[in-house]
Symmetry: C2
Subunit: 218 residues, 2 copies
């Protein structure tokens, strides 16, 4: 990579990166994929900011944390930057996902294309309901929650998706930690007591409705 | 409200606000609700930034766009700011939601607590599958997609949630527009041709997994 648009010296990869920065990197990646669809090969931070309603300074700062990507006056190579961001975000390899609680939401997520393409694949699901156990969901049969440790170990799942009732969230998080899972997406409303080695990301789908509501104000 | 921490003069509410700003306002609201749970009554932009890993300057700039909320050296009144943000975001009234496509994801969302509490309520759902029509889902019976216009009118739904297969997304968006819906959340991977009067917000649940993947890098 050539000398770039960077305002800041590159930081070591081990430096602490805030969840907000990761959020933005993920957003940039989405924008770049859109540019690839449109067959745009080069873009400046300014043009990217204009097109996707972002801040050019923020783009340059965020990317500069991880190296020097753009060429001053020429901009970013879309394909190269896409590849770099994929690597940065850990998306250059497949992550295996286990769904804990295969009700409507768990079942929907186990079949959701975004959870089963590119860097992610749902490889297992468990439920406590005997009527669910043994039924197919996505590409696997639902196991019993009591067998979680074995299922995680056999399926090599790294990410646990919690779609159980809120009151069962903590015990299932604890079980995922004991089973050796590395990170948890929490779709419940429960606030989990977590250990640093197994980070939790809370997902609140209401936020999408809230953003919509703003644009519907009278 | 007293003279504030604002760096910028307040803008008129009619000014164009970017989706990214709305995103952040929604995030601030979430932080403030957390502070309310913790019974914290006052907070400075600096302390709020530190606690939730945000930028204090950004908080002040974002809020200053809409008026002057904080008191210099004292900070924000948590309850007051929460109320103001709710009003700003259009969350001070109930929004009615119709689910278009009541498969696993549509059914899950129709029962999801965040879609049925506070400012939102799922009031109707439609599907094209005759086996689904007439079945209960959440607090209503599923109607037929052919009756969408009448169902939207009768239920006074304002927001449409698209959870149909991607290839059916555009025709269902068009039908929602014709039925008088005011905004659409698109859970499909389709890129919709939309009209400015009926904005679309694309929801890609993969983003939550991508953020998790970053923290699992070796």
């Amino acid at each position: 990579m050539k000398q770039g648009e960077s305002d800041l010296p590159p930081a070591s990869p081990s430096q602490v990166v805030s969840p907000q920065t990761v959020n933005r990197l993920s957003l940039y990646l989405r924008c770049l994929r859109r540019l690839q669809e449109l067959r745009i090969r080069r873009i400046s931070s300014l043009e990217m900011a204009r097109r996707f309603d972002l801040s050019a300074t923020q783009i340059r700062k965020d990317l500069a944390q991880f190296g020097e990507f753009g060429i001053r006056g020429v901009g970013y190579d879309v394909d190269q930057l896409t590849e770099h961001l994929c690597t940065l975000l850990g998306l250059d390899r497949r992550h295996r996902v286990v769904i804990v609680g295969v009700g409507n939401l768990g079942r929907a997520l186990s079949q959701y294309l975004g959870f089963n393409s590119g860097s992610f694949q749902v490889v297992a699901g468990v439920d406590i309901d005997p009527r669910q156990v043994g039924r197919p969901a996505g590409g696997f049969r639902i196991g019993h929650s009591a067998d979680l440790a074995e299922i995680v170990s056999d399926s090599k799942a790294e990410i646990g998706v919690l779609t159980v009732p809120a009151e069962a969230a903590q015990e299932n998080y604890d079980a995922l930690v004991a089973a050796g899972i590395r990170g948890v997406l929490n779709f419940t409303r429960a606030r989990l007591q977590s250990v640093p080695e197994v980070p939790v990301k809370d997902v609140d789908l209401r936020i999408h409705l809230e953003e919509m509501a703003f644009f519907l104000r009278e």
